[in-house]
């Protein structure tokens, strides 16, 4: 009798395991059933002088709906934000600011106002280590968009013929640095109109007068990535991510299981500071934004010194610190981008002190030299080098 009961019990137990196995066929992420998310869509656009890619998991029957959204509302947002915030766009608010006289007051779009407000917040959070008022210095060192175009030719008084093999003159470095106090520029709303009042400072070098100029390219990418992610969520697309240039990413949820990550999370890989296309870190994240900055892309070397596109607001020259690359994860991609820039500029010691004050933001830093660096992080992830 006992044997019979035992056999029945064993059969029931195994049947339960079988049923559990069948239940596993339904996959849920944060309460959402993604079993039927068999559709995959991805597309790329060229904006912000880089690429913008969107990737989504979705139920197959919603493919056309997503295509319409991408080619309509999302493309419009990209065009608008890029157009308003680029330094060279025809209708750019930033270009208008850069070309205006010292002390001028300009009306700006709400998008520009929002981005500038974030820039102001980041400037304060980082005590000036992130500074968007370094556009002249960025141009002086050869990192503005015009240097990415074919057939670069010197056109400004401070341009060098071979800008990668000759350094700028100190008088320009000093002059442009004197124009980089972002707190002198005011951003405000008055009777529903958004305005910016340009710093009254100016500097004259060899008879040419220069005024403060802004570059919101980093903030702009993050700002736009977050906007697009919100649009996707508003339309019920919760699985995928928006990636602008690799440096600014807004993550939604993952409908599949990435190696090492929990179901719903993405295994985000971070490029190695060695600049060899390999990875050094993997972070497990969902529903969060992130940004990465570093000295291993967009740089040139002269006499063994690397000059990268990230400018130090305290010297007016490319930063030289022990932080080779920094990634920051948090709710706002624009702020993440600003914080990564600041962390590179500040160096590891001050960067960690700054990060400790940033509520809700985590980070990964590669600190040392390209040949020998250590990883400092407080995010869920692992080294993979």
């Amino acid at each position: 009798m006992a044997k019979r009961i035992f056999k029945v019990a064993a059969l029931i137990t195994l049947s339960l395991i079988f049923v559990v196995g069948l239940c596993a066929c339904r996959i849920t992420v944060d309460g959402m059933d993604v079993t039927d998310y068999t559709g995959v869509q991805y597309t790329t656009y060229d904006y912000f002088n880089t690429y913008c890619s969107l990737s989504c998991y979705l139920p197959g029957e919603r493919s056309e709906e997503l295509k319409t959204l991408w080619n309509g509302e999302i493309r419009s947002v990209l065009e608008k934000v890029n157009g308003l915030l680029s330094v060279d766009g025809e209708n750019s608010d930033i270009r208008a600011f850069n070309e205006a006289d010292a002390g001028a007051v300009l009306t700006i779009d709400e998008v520009t106002f929002d981005a500038l407000s974030l820039a102001k917040q980041a400037y304060e959070d980082t005590e000036g280590a992130f500074n968007p008022a370094l556009a002249l210095s960025v141009d002086l060192w050869g990192f503005s968009p015009r240097f990415n175009e074919q057939g670069y030719a010197p056109e400004k008084p401070y341009d060098r013929e071979d800008y990668k093999n000759s350094l700028p003159e100190q008088k320009y470095i000093d002059a442009f640095l004197s124009l980089s106090d972002f707190s002198e520029t005011e951003v405000y709303e008055e009777n529903g109109v958004y305005c910016i009042k340009k710093s009254a400072s100016f500097a004259e070098v060899d008879g040419t007068v220069y005024t403060q100029q802004l570059d919101l390219s980093g903030i702009g990418k993050g700002y736009c990535a977050d906007m697009i992610a919100e649009i996707l969520k508003d339309h019920g697309f919760y699985f995928g991510y928006v990636n602008i240039g690799g440096s600014s990413i807004s993550l939604l949820k993952n409908a599949r299981k990435d190696v090492g990550a929990e179901l719903g999370e993405w295994a985000v890989t971070v490029l190695s500071p060695e600049g060899n296309g390999e990875y050094y870190f993997e972070a497990y994240l969902k529903d969060v934004s992130l940004a990465t900055s570093g000295s291993y892309q967009q740089y040139y070397e002269k006499d063994g010194i690397r000059y990268s596109h990230i400018l130090d607001p305290y010297t007016g020259a490319p930063y030289q610190s022990d932080v080779l690359t920094a990634s920051v994860y948090g709710e706002n991609a624009a702020l993440c981008d600003a914080y990564t820039t600041a962390m590179c500029v500040l160096g590891s010691e001050k960067a960690l002190a700054m990060a400790a004050k940033l509520e809700g933001y985590t980070y990964t830093l590669a600190v040392g030299t390209t040949e020998n660096y250590k990883v400092i992080t407080n995010v869920d992830g692992k080294e993979i080098r």
Binding site: F18, Q150, N243, R256, G277
Partner: protein
Amino acid sequence: MKKKGVEDVKKSKYFTLWDIIPYFCVLAVAVTLLLVFLLPEKDDISGFYVEYGDKSVLTYDFAEDKFDIEESFFENVDLEAENGGYTVTIITSDGKNVFFVDKEKRTVKMVDADCSFSKDCTYMPAIGESGDSIICVPHKLKIIAKGDGVSSPVTG
């Protein structure tokens, strides 16, 4: 009918081999289902396509090992079979890009570009998961991998 003695009953096992086989089958099916649905998956690409601006330049399918080049780009594309794959050179009015298609690894890697500045695209990792892309912004050239999944994001 012969009755078993007490000793026989004591010696008899709870399970015979024929009892265990169905249990084992049920267990195996359950475990397989769990593995299939819960274990991570890697989405190998089936091929890739190249765009110049908004125009399609070519597509490639790994299974068929076949390039389909748009007629209007015949003069712009050069293919060379070597090292277990293809070296593809695309020259447009914006510049030249060279990428390598590794047939065995099912990856594509940009190996050269003649843009004036940092050649960012040549430092991007080889793409091997669906949705991965390599983009040469100055030359308006995009290589996009095709497949059934979304690749994990790469930041840098």
